[in-house]
């Protein structure tokens, strides 16, 4: 059965801290790994990773994929209160399927 597991489930840090969120996956016909940020309503796209070892960066966020060990990490440096959200990891499988993890709930305290 396809599955995506994220850890930790929740995290509370102070502004300025660096956090690492983990995502492991076991899916058939894996195509890509996606990260989303979900605040109040719909998830918003952060990164899509298709190749191992190539880091993607966007400001204070970065992510990398390891297709051999079947995991990805999302790093957030110098966290801000606006980073508080649920971070979702999803594995794209086959021609249509996206399998989502339960998410990591991040709370950044001022």
């Amino acid at each position: 059965e396809d599955k995506v597991v994220q850890s930790p489930l929740s995290l509370v840090v102070h502004e300025g801290d660096t956090v690492t969120l983990n995502c492991s996956y076991e899916v058939t016909n894996f195509r890509s790994l996606l990260w989303y940020k979900q605040e109040k309503k719909a998830p918003t796209f952060l990164f899509m990773l298709t190749s191992s070892g190539i880091e993607k960066k966007s400001g204070r966020l970065s992510s990398i994929l390891d297709k051999k060990e079947l995991f990805s990490i999302l790093n957030i440096t110098a966290t801000q209160t606006g980073d508080s959200a649920i971070y979702l990891c999803a594995a794209a499988s086959g021609t249509y399927k996206y399998i989502f993890g339960t998410g990591t709930r991040l709370k950044v305290l001022a």
């Binding site: 890509s32 998830p43 796209f45 298709t50 979702l88 794209a92 021609t95 249509y96 989502f100 339960t102």
Partner: protein
């Protein structure tokens, strides 16, 4: 910017009523999806569509039905709402961009449904 719309945003309705949740996208994406998400839980795929006149059930069993008569429109219908249908419903779309890669999914703002 992604243009995918859902209406209504909130709906409170009594048991036994028929409801239709609307989803439209203006990006010309071929694939569309409906997910159900309870608070603090993962997204569960309930329906998807490859394109016009193509719909399939997802992994989570659902009593809802969908239709795809036009590329941009993917409504979800519950014939007889029950309290167990109370949840958030998220619509999404994606497109094939070449090779083995599909684009990321773009999500609508969601419909929060409460059935009394």
């Amino acid at each position: 910017e992604a243009d995918i719309y859902q209406t209504p945003r909130y709906l409170v309705i009594g048991t036994g009523k028929k409801i239709t949740l609307e989803c439209s996208q203006t990006m010309g994406h071929d694939k569309m999806y409906w997910y159900q998400q309870d608070p603090g839980m993962e997204l569960h795929l309930i329906h998807y569509s490859y394109g016009v006149n193509s719909t399939e059930k997802g992994d989570l069993s659902s009593e809802s039905t969908v239709s795809r008569i036009r590329t941009e429109h993917f409504p979800l219908t519950l014939e007889s709402a029950r309290p167990s249908h109370t949840s958030q419903y998220l619509c999404a779309s994606s497109e094939y961009i070449g090779g083995p890669i599909y684009n990321e999914q773009f999500f609508g703002p969601g419909t929060r449904l409460t059935v009394l």
